[in-house]
Subunit: 230 residues, 2 copies
Amino acid sequence: MSTAHGARARARIEVTAAIKDEARRQLAAEGAARLSLRAVARELGMVSSALYRYFPSRDDLLTALIIDAYDSLGESAEAAHQASADPYARWIAVCAAVRGWALDHPHEYALIYGSPVPGYTAPDTTVPPAARVGLLLIGIARDAHEGQGLDRPALPADLRPEAERMAADLAPDLPPETVTALVAAWAQLYGLVGFELFGQFNRVVEDREGFFRHAAGQLAEGVGLMPGSV
Amino acid sequence: MSTAHGARARARIEVTAAIKDEARRQLAAEGAARLSLRAVARELGMVSSALYRYFPSRDDLLTALIIDAYDSLGESAEAAHQASADPYARWIAVCAAVRGWALDHPHEYALIYGSPVPGYTAPDTTVPPAARVGLLLIGIARDAHEGQGLDRPALPADLRPEAERMAADLAPDLPPETVTALVAAWAQLYGLVGFELFGQFNRVVEDREGFFRHAAGQLAEGVGLMPGSV
DNA sequence: ACAAAAAAGAGAGCAGTGCTCTTGCATGGG
DNA sequence: CCCATGCAAGAGCACTGCTCTCTTTTTTGT
């Protein structure tokens, strides 16, 4: 068993953390593709083969960083959520938090929401932390729904089954119209953030912050959240 | 001068094309990060150093592929544009073409709209081909605008200057409200496509095609295009 | 037409990468 | 106490991008 009370076990935890820290530094500085196991080991004063005792491959190290990144983003978003009062303000705050986190951690954002590293497929371990922001957005819609109801325009007939399936999966207490709008807004949010972060707005949008605020407000209204609601 | 009528000049063109073709094959098969100059050369029966006579670095080869990818995507979108009649149908068709092209060329899509390859910044050469889809969307809005006018809700006061600047840059004949909505819709479109392509919709959206159609319709209405308009 | 210049290919070599295997040492549990 | 396990170290393999030199081939200027 890996009971955690040996001096050895403690050392293992510390070394593992040190590796992740150094890897995160390199990730932030150079990006995922330039993250090198050998460089991490070198910086930590250990030989590269020793590092494989802690992470069996580069992909495993990346996976650990991905999970941490999702959690860090989720924390930022949840903090912004709790700091705001009404649903509309919360929506804007969460969107702004996602954007702010992305601008602060561009390479980590690229790691989780950019192109997946080729040949690499994230294991299921990453699913729960990846869902945190989505769950937050759903929660906001739920609060608003309980407050006053969110009337969304009816869905086209051919999308109803899918919409009902998604609603059953994600938020059985919300109408399918709202859930569909939520999923779309969720993806679109990351379109806005990604375009700004990856330079697609260069020479196009200057006032990034103001533009984003406005677009996030439009997204909110798209899921039925209105500025003045409870 | 590099007057183009020598046997050598012709050979150069052919070899350059062969390199790009093989590189594209590897890109499609394995992704940008696994694209290897040596492997391309090996496959072409030449030694790796010879390849540097054609592309001075791996990044230059990638840039060539990026430009080709933008052009290929632009062509698909333009074909879809011409095959449709009214502005709303054109909008949906162009969005669907973008999605279809992305699904057919996932690694090339990742190359141009995913995380930029770290340490790499695209040169200005890529700007015009990158703008093709955007220009198409602007054109659709312009057609609809001439037809009947697109009344968009008024912008918040603090965004007016930026919106007017964007309109002056991108489409001086369109109202700032429409241009702002267009830019947002443009980014959001790629959010939808990227989420589907990069697996974020796994276990969430099943009927990807239907969901996308609906979301694209919402985007259209967001810029003021209505299903029944001229 | 012929020599000089430019362009292209071939090969060796450098520094770096992920990863594996073997060897030696220290530590913790029975 | 002692042996099995955990860990570190080093050598080594196959690969990468890229540079440099040397030779051959083609183009161009006189």
